[in-house]
Amino acid sequence: MKLLRNIVDSIRPHFGKGGKFAKFHRSFEAFDTFLFVQGNVTRRGSHIRDAIDMKRTMFFVIIALVPTLLFGMWNVGYQHYMAIGADVSFIDQIVYGLIKVLPIVVVSYASGLAVEFLFAELRDHEVNEGFLVSGMLIPLVLPVTTPLWMVAVATIFAVIIGKEVFGGTGMNILNPALLARAFLFFAYPAYMSGEVWISGTAEQLDGISGATSLAVLASNEGHMLPSLFDMFIGTIPGSIGETSTLAIILGASILVATGVGSLRIMLSVVAGGLFMGGVFNLFAVNDFMAVPAYYHLVMGGFAFGAVYMATDPVTASQTGIGKYIYGVMIGVITVLIRVVNPAYPEGMMLAILFMNVFAPLIDHYVVQSNIKRRLRRPVKAQVTI
């Protein structure tokens, strides 16, 4: 540790004013603060003294994402070998998943961080930590068959249009990871929907396909649905990170325990989904409506979105009551889109984006009503006297 600190300190002068690499001092700063907690603090404005800064906060989210990532890797291998009918060991499945998933993670981080560093140098702001999380979320919400160049294009689009034009981390209105997915979803629909979810190498079989549980329901074949247990554990086809509700609950407990993710939002999303699912159960004219409401929680990206996407502290509602409204609306709209909209079997992504757009409006009215209520207080007190 000491050695690393010394190395960083010894090359610091080169990045200072007049040094050889003065142009790159933002990049240097980023690596420095990534490795060590800063000794100096903000120069202006009020701040709270705390051992945890934004880089560490973001790191907790990454730790919370590890269970889903590991499970996702294994599941990719498991689905692949099951589809070709080979009986191989656990290690082989993991290795296959690693070979498939790791390049996507690397491409997402490399392209996104390249844009981040470029903007930090050009606009002379600090390198934003937020991308550490977005760069991990983007691979997890993509199907494993997504070509790498698409991952790069979507990441760059999301970072520039979704975040940097607003001034970087903390200023964006839409979740960058979801924006990347939405970009691919609308720009290359053939790759993102349909039934090309299971990975298959081109020389073996041309596109081994398996329908996701939502696609099964959308085509009204409810009896083909995997068992509730399988969907909960996550041994089903789907995007890399979304399949295992178990791993996601593990991550959620880390987020809630460390105070990084908002339990209010997670619970109200679940409540909204259950409510809407229950309403559709009353009608139950097709398989999608008849499926028990709690099935919606374990199918598709519902759990993943509720835990990692909806709770994004930047794009979610900031006020307490606002968080309940925001969460419930996400749950309701998700199930609504899933069941009612024939164009998209999955609604989580679009529901969260939709509520991201309206989160500032919800906050505005919650704050206004609080102001009104507090203005009335002294008047009331006088009357009682």
Binding site: F166, G167, I173, L179, F183, I337, N341, D363
Partner: protein, 205 residues
Amino acid sequence: MEELVNIFVKSIFIDNMIFAYFLGMCSYLAVSRTVDTSVGLGFAVIFVLGITVPINYLLEAHILGKGALIWLGPQFADVNLSFLTFIMFIAIIAAMVQLVEMIIEKFSPTLYSSLGIFLPLIAVNCAILGGSLFMQERNFGNISEAISFGLGSGVGWFLAIAGIAAIREKIRYSNVPAPLRGLGITFIITGLMGIAFMSFMGIEL
């Protein structure tokens, strides 16, 4: 009844005036700086659309359309006044906007002064005329459908301008690149909101 609800929901979310047809962009971009003003303008648009679409529907059905004048007598069966459509629609809209202006000036002078020139300009807001022309194009069966369509379109426009106004208030202190400040970033936000509204495209009601 179900048909009315369908038309209403469809015109709010699926055929949204802003995000599906890009109508009424001028006041949407210009007045969306604060939530309160844009909510005021939004209500004015709901009111004007909710009144003009059904009135224009009656005009279309009983005076302007081909053979609509038949109630005057059988010799009018071949009269087709549809070449007057635009001018009649605009006249109705302008009259209604005058009415709204008088009401707002009377009851909320602050809103009246903050809306400024954009209040009378509702008369030439493309969303309003667009509403009447869509009504004509879609051949609604009766006047309640036209009312439901007019109100729905207005609510959709209201949601759009209220949403973007809240976002613009939120990003007021953001470090937006200098060339994009103001209208530039507003266009980008509108595009991003459009992506979010695409969640409802394809729903068949």
